[in-house]
């Protein structure tokens, strides 16, 4: 016989009971919708994390003190192990470095023209812009001289500018940081909202020495820095630069072989990789939980298929009497089960995609329905239909035609 006839038989049986068919496939609808939504949310999260981390700057290595280190570092000074000299040494001695930017930071109250704003103030060198891929929107960045002299000038982020001066031009404004007066000489370009609810535009930059001596905590020694950003010239040299920086700093800090580093270096690429892997694992976990409801949906289909086989026993007997082979009956019922599941899969996919977009809208989360969500959802539906339709179909095919015809 022609195979499309078997498909027609299966669809005919489903259309004969539209309400029952939809209710039967409900489990698969929910399962598929949940899987699609979960993977979409997961992918959205992944994109968000990627955006946030790469927003910190590309080809970046972050060097921070390691507080877990033993007595030597503590004796040297209250958990501070990085100094201006380290940054200078890296810039001079490590090859393939595009920019080295030491940084100190502190929280400070800013006051200007009667407006107040509490924000993070970062003491940096001009190279900081290069290291973090920041750009000046208006005005200018302070130069090496100004930085060295500790001139009291500031470059402000767009959020700070808006909070203190609204829409008017901040350049040339006087602003008091705690009690110290500074002058605004530039405004940063917006980097926008990063992940984790952080506003990357809510920041002010000042010359390293000025910020260190007047603002960042009393505890800081005259030449200590909290972080050194090292930007490699390209992605390929990232690992090598990281290694060279580590070796150089061990040398600088006179750390003997076998002793732990009193600092740590983090490679942006590996941070990104690690967090993506974490989010990915989480997504798979969520999808797996959602997948359990697919199994429940499959059991629902199996149940109704068993009912259908019982209800249509006479039909099966008659089909056999007019010449249907057992394989024809088997395939007809298996297709019916797959079609039921597939209907559920299609409805579930639609709901899942709409749901993902709705959640994205509500949660200001990037909507990211993965392109493989459709094929995956429908593929799963087919598998569920086949697996859970197998037993009922086998029962139908094994029926004895005479007994089947005699059944009421």
């Amino acid at each position: 016989m022609r195979s499309f006839e078997l498909v027609r038989f299966a669809l005919g049986a489903i259309i004969a009971h539209p309400m029952r068919s939809v209710l039967t496939s409900l489990g698969v609808v929910i399962g598929v919708a949940a899987v699609v939504m979960m993977t979409s949310i997961g992918l959205g999260a992944q994109q968000r994390v990627t955006q946030a981390i790469s927003g910190l700057g590309s080809n970046l290595i972050i060097v921070t003190p390691n507080f877990q280190r033993g007595p030597v570092a503590q004796a040297a000074g209250a958990g501070v192990s990085l100094r201006d000299g380290d940054a200078v040494a890296i810039a001079r001695q490590v090859e393939g470095v595009a920019a080295v930017a030491p940084l100190v930071r502190g929280q400070a109250q800013l006051a200007s023209d009667g407006a107040n704003w509490n924000t993070q103030i970062q003491g940096v060198t001009p190279d900081y812009l290069v290291a973090r891929d920041l750009k000046i929107a208006s005005g200018r960045m302070f130069d090496e001289n100004e930085a060295r002299q500790g001139r009291k000038v500031l470059v402000v982020g767009p959020t700070v500018a808006k909070e203190l001066w609204g829409d008017s031009d901040p350049i040339g404004r006087r602003v008091r940081v705690r009690t110290v007066p500074f002058e605004v000489i530039g405004v940063l370009e917006s980097k926008g909202q990063a992940g984790f609810g952080q506003d990357q535009d809510d920041v002010v930059l000042g010359p390293l020495s000025a910020v260190r001596s007047r603002i960042a905590g009393r505890r800081s020694r005259g030449d200590s820095v909290q972080t050194i950003y090292v930007k490699a010239v390209d992605e390929d040299s990232l690992d090598r630069v990281q290694e060279d920086v580590t070796n150089l700093l061990r040398d600088q800090h006179k750390i003997r072989q076998g002793e732990d580093d009193d600092f740590q270096t983090q490679n942006m690429a590996s941070i990104l990789e690690a967090s993506q892997a974490a989010v990915g694992t989480f997504t798979v976990l969520l999808a797996a939980v959602a997948g359990v409801s697919l199994v429940v949906g499959g059991v629902g289909i199996m149940n109704i298929m068993l009912v259908a086989v019982t209800e249509r026993t006479r039909e099966i007997g008659l089909r056999m009497a007019v010449g249907a082979k057992r394989s024809h009956i088997l395939i007809q019922f298996a297709l019916e089960s797959v079609a039921l599941s597939l209907v559920g899969g299609l409805i579930g996919l639609t709901i899942g995609v709409l749901g993902a977009f709705a959640i994205a809208k509500l949660g200001e989360w990037p909507a990211a329905v993965p392109p493989w969500a459709g094929p995956l959802a429908l593929g799963f539906s087919v598998v569920v239909g086949l697996v859970f339709g197998a037993y009922p179909s086998w029962r139908a095919a094994r029926l004895d035609p005479i007994e089947a015809l005699r059944r009421e």
Binding site: M1, R2, E5, G12, A16, R314, E315, G317, L318, R319, M320, A321, V322, G323, A324, K325, R326, S327, H328, P401, I402, L405
Partner: protein, 227 residues
């Protein structure tokens, strides 16, 4: 055309063995019109089911045009039923979801005919049984006699060699029963081999040969038309 030798069928009901056929031998020639009669439980339906390839004998041989049907696999039996046999049941056995036309088309679907060809043939068959105007009716919208005529049209779909009817008029009143019998007469006149199980002596009279059963054995086999 058909030759059965010492055919036996034993049903096992728990501990008990029920011999439905106790050694039946019979020859049926092409074009014959046979009535199978006998008391209830004498094995008539059992014989028909075996002749039609719906059931297998416990013992004995069944040759159909020289082929040993008893040796057929399940798939070969399905092919045999589809190509060689037309069944007519007491309870019609139409599929309630399908129209008269679709019911008649069903065996042709399994035969792999194109939709166009089988629709044309189904329509032609319905015309022939006098139901040209009822093609899109569903079984519930037809009288018993009409339903049985749809079933007969269906049994003829794949041009069988033999029609097997197990009490085809059992569920019909006398006059509609007569319509069905007239149709059988006509089909047999056209050369179709026919075996009809019946309780009704008047129905049996119409056949050209009467085979009587009792306790799973043939007790008489008369030829010649009485009516």
């Amino acid at each position: 055309m058909i030759e059965i030798q010492d055919l036996r069928k034993v049903f096992i009901m728990g501990e008990e063995e029920v011999p439905a056929l106790a050694g039946v031998s019979l020859r049926i020639e092409r074009g014959e019109y046979i009535a199978v009669i006998g008391p209830s439980g004498s094995g008539k339906s059992t014989l028909m089911n075996i002749l039609g390839g719906l059931d297998r004998p416990t013992d004995g041989t069944y040759l159909f045009e020289g082929d040993d049907v008893g040796e057929f696999t399940d798939d070969e039996l399905a092919d045999f039923r589809r190509r060689r046999i037309g069944f007519v049941f007491q309870s019609f056995q139409l599929l309630p979801r399908l129209t008269a036309l679709q019911n008649v088309e069903l065996p042709m679907i399994y035969a792999g005919m194109t939709p166009k060809d089988r629709r044309a043939r189904a329509a032609e068959l319905l015309e022939r049984v006098g139901l040209g105007g009822r093609m899109t009716h569903r079984p519930t919208q037809l009288s018993g006699g009409q339903q049985q005529r749809v079933a007969i049209a269906r049994s003829l779909a794949n041009r069988p060699d033999m029609l097997l009817a197990d009490e085809p008029t059992g569920a019909l009143d006398t006059s509609t029963g007569e319509e069905v019998l007239a149709l059988f007469e006509e089909l047999n006149a056209g050369g179709l081999t026919l075996a009809v199980v019946t309780h009704d002596p008047e129905v049996a009279e119409l056949a050209h040969r009467r085979v009587s059963f009792r306790d799973g054995l043939i007790v008489s086999d008369e030829r010649g038309r009485k009516a």
